[in-house]
Symmetry: none
Subunit: 203 residues, 4 copies
C-alpha cells in the first residue's frame, strides 16, 4: 500500500489541518478542543493522533503553512524590481489579505502570532515565513538605491521591517474590525512609499 497510502495520508492531513484552521480561527488554540477538531473533520481522535502526535503539532503544522502564500508575489516583485517592484509587492500582499473571505485567515494569523511569542517552535516557523518577504523588500530597496530611485540613507532591512509592520498592523485591525476602510489604508501606505521615491526624483 505505498502510493495510494501516501496520497491518502496527505489527504487526511489536509482534512485535519483544515478542520483545525476552522476551529482555531473561531475559538482560538486554547478554547478549541481536540473534540471540536474531530467533529469538524468528521474523524475520530484516534484517526487524528495517527497523523499528528498531539494538538501542538497541529498548531505547528498550521504555523508552518502560513507562509508560502506570498512566494508568488515575491517572485513577481523581484521580476519588476526597484520601487515599482516594491509597489507591486505591497499592493499584491495587501489585496490578498483585504478580501472579506480572508477574515478567517486574519483571525488565525493573530492567534499564531500570540502563540509565537510564547512558543519558540512556533516562533521559528512564523519567522521563517516573515523573513523572506522582509529580505525581498530589502533587496528591492537596495536595487532602488543603486538606480538612484531611493535615498542612500534608508536602511533596507529597516524598510523590510516597516513594511511588514504595516501588514501586520493592518491584519490586526481588520481582525478586530472586519469592516475597517481597507482602501484608504492601502492608499495611504502607498503614498508614503511614493513620497520617499518622489522626493528623491524631485531633487
Amino acid at each position: 500500500m505505498p502510493k495510494v497510502s501516501d496520497e491518502h495520508m496527505e489527504g487526511r492531513r489536509r482534512q485535519i489541518i483544515d478542520a483545525a484552521i476552522a476551529c482555531f480561527a473561531r475559538d482560538g488554540f486554547h478554547r478549541a478542543t481536540m473534540q471540536d477538531i474531530c467533529a469538524e473533520a468528521r474523524l475520530s481522535p484516534g484517526a487524528i493522533y495517527r497523523h499528528f502526535p498531539g494538538k501542538d503539532a497541529i498548531v505547528e503544522a498550521i504555523a508552518d503553512e502560513r507562509h508560502a502564500r506570498e512566494a508568488e508575489f515575491m517572485r513577481a516583485a523581484l521580476e519588476v524590481g526597484g520601487v515599482d517592484g516594491l509597489r507591486v509587492f505591497g499592493s499584491a500582499s495587501f489585496r490578498s489579505l483585504a478580501a472579506p473571505a480572508e477574515k478567517r485567515r486574519r483571525r488565525l494569523g493573530v492567534q499564531v502570532w500570540a502563540e509565537a511569542v510564547l512558543n519558540p517552535e512556533i516562533r521559528k516557523l512564523v519567522m521563517r515565513g516573515t523573513k523572506p518577504p522582509r529580505d525581498v523588500v530589502a533587496r528591492l530597496v537596495r536595487e532602488a538605491q543603486e538606480s538612484g530611485e531611493l535615498a542612500d540613507d534608508l536602511d533596507p532591512d529597516a524598510v523590510g521591517r516597516v513594511m511588514l509592520a504595516l501588514f501586520q498592523g493592518f491584519i490586526l485591525q481588520q481582525a478586530w474590525e472586519p469592516g475597517a476602510d481597507v482602501t484608504a489604508f492601502l492608499e495611504t501606505a502607498e503614498l508614503m512609499v511614493d513620497a520617499l521615491a518622489r522626493e528623491r526624483v524631485a531633487e
Copy 2:
C-alpha cells in the same frame, strides 16, 4: 483584618493584576493558571476571588489598563500640533515601547490582541485604547493640511490607522525578537513621515 480602607482594596487589586500580568506575559492567558497567579501574588485563591469574579475579569482588567499610558504623549503632541506634533507623538510612543524593560509589556500586548479577536468584551476595551491615539493623529494631520504642511489628498483617519499599524507591527516584531534593531525601525518610520511633509514643502 476587617474594615480595610479603599486604598488597601485598591492595593490588593494592583497586587493581583501585577501578578497576573507577570504570569500572562510569561505563559499566556490560557496556560497561566489561577494557581500560578496566586503563587505570584502570594495570595490564596479565595483572596483573589474576593476582588475578581473570575479569571476572565482579570484579563479584562488588564486589557482595560493598557491604554491611558499614551495619554501624556497625546497631550504633548496636541500642544505642539501639526507635523511636528505627529513626530513628537510618534517618537515618544515608539521610545516608550522600545526599552528592553518593556519586554513584558510587549509580550502581554500581543496576548491581549489575540484575545481581543476572540472576545468582544476584550475587543471593546482594546479599541477604547487604540481609538484615541488614532484620532489624535487624524487631528494633527488635519491641522497640517490646513496649514499646508501636508497634502490634502491624505485621508487623516487612514494615517491614524497606518501609524497605529506601525506601532503594532513594531511591538509584535520586538516581542518575537527582543534584540531587533529598534533605532533603524524608528528612523525609517520617521523618514516616511518626513518624506510626506518634505515633498509638500518642496512643491
Copy 3:
C-alpha cells in the same frame, strides 16, 4: 457583664437561628452558605462563630428547636383524654401545620428529616421531638381501651406511629404542593379514627 450579656447572647442566637431557618428553608442545608446566613442575619462570620462552633451546630440547634411546639397540644389532649383527646391532638397538630404561613416550616422540616437519616446527632434530636407525641397518642389509646372506647387488639404504640406517619406524609405532600387540599386530608384522617371508635361503640 453577666445578665445583660446573657440576654444579648440569647438574642444573637435567635437572630442567627432565624436567619439560618430562612436560608435552609429556601435552599437546603447544603446549598445555603454561611455567607448567606451572615447576610440574612446582618452579622459577620466572626460574630456567628462566636455563638456556634460551626454550620452543623446551627443545624443541630434548629433540629433541637423543632419539637416543643406540640407541647401545648399534648397537654390539652391529655386533659381531654380518650378518643376525644386523640381527636383534639390530631386536629390541633394538623391545623398548626396546614396554615400557608407554615410553608417555610414544612420545607425546613423535610430538610431536617433527610439530615436525620444521615447524621445520628440530628436523628437523636429529631426523635426526641417525635417520641413524646407518639407516647401521648399511645397513652390516649390505652385510656380509650380501658374505657372501652377502642378495641383491645389495637397496638397503642403502633397507633402512635401511624398518626405520626400521617403528619409526616402530610407535611411532605404539602411541602411539594403547597396548594394541596388540606381540609379533605384532615377530614379523611379523622374519619379513619372515628371509624375505629364508632365500630366499637356500635358493637
Copy 4:
C-alpha cells in the same frame, strides 16, 4: 473499545446509577462527591461525564427510577378491585418496603424527597411517581363506594393522599429506626381501613 452496543451503553448507565445510589444512600447527595461515585463505580470522571452531563443529572436519573416499582402492585390491586384491592395494594406496598434489604432504598427515598422540595425538576419526577398510586387508590375507593363497601362521604382523592402519607411516614420512621416494629404498623393501618369498611357493612 469503540462502537459499543446500546446494551453496553445502558450497562454503564446502570453501573453509574447503582454506584451513585450506594453513595447517595450512604452520605446524601451533597456529601457524596463525584470522586466517591467514581470509586464506587470503578470508573474515571471522564467515563461518567460521557453518560451524564453532571451530578444533578445523576440525581434526576435516580429520582426518575424510583417509581415503576409499584406498577405490578397497582395492576394486581386493580384486578382485585374494591376494598380488597385496597388491602392488596396496601400490604404489598408496605411489605415491599419493610424488608431489611430495602434499608438503602428507604434512606435514598428520604434524600430524594428533601431534594424534591428544593428542586422543581426532581419534584416533577417524584410526583410522576406518587400520582399513579394515589389515583389507583382513588379509583378503588370509588369502586368500593359504588358497590356499597365504603361510605359515599369519603373523598377518594384524599384517601389516596392519606394512604400515600402512611407509606411516606412509614419509610421515614424506618429510615431513622431500621428496627422499628413494622408488623404492628401495617396491622394498625389495615385495621383503620377495615374499620371504615366494616362499619359500612354493619349498618
